[in-house]
């Protein structure tokens, strides 16, 4: 994937990791991040 997509993915995926009120992402939340960046199809389908 282009590095611009990678950076956007990383910021959406990891951006909340140090927040004091961090809660685990749900599978649906993470799938929505991938989908929103056009990372769709079976390769990007979370288990």
């Amino acid at each position: 994937m282009p590095v611009a997509t990678l950076s956007a993915l990383a910021h959406a995926w990891w951006g909340d990791r140090l927040r004091p009120d961090w809660r685990p992402h749900t599978k649906a939340q993470n799938q929505a991040i991938l989908d929103g960046l056009g990372l769709i199809g079976e390769f990007w389908r979370l288990p």
Partner: protein, 147 residues
Amino acid sequence: MDDGDIAVRNVTYRRFVELGRAPTIEETAGAAGLSGDEVTRAWVRLHEAHALVLASNATEIRMANPFSAVTTAHRVFAADRWWFANCAWDAFGICAALDVDGRIETSCPDCSEPIALDVRDKRSDDESLVFLCPLPAARWWDDIGFT
């Protein structure tokens, strides 16, 4: 993984950033007001839930994703210190988690050519680069060290 485990996880991450390295069980226990055994049991549950990754001895942090507790080929300068990331995705993730700009130094997994880039306002200053994700999402946690 219950609310108590998440609280231990959040203390572990906070101490990781404060120390610039993975906290020990004792350091985490002291910060969390728990016993070492309580932290150990919470870490195991967090590992099983993929909220962090323990070393094979199950008593040390291997990954507090996106941070790596061990030396890797992916270095990030952010928030006034160098960090190790688990992969290129995590290298950007360190800038994201710290909410700062940074510099990433890594290498091309294909030709081994060194790569250095700056992250400014959530973007790479070299947009010619591409990232290869080697495994489908369904297999990322089969062997997270390899992934």
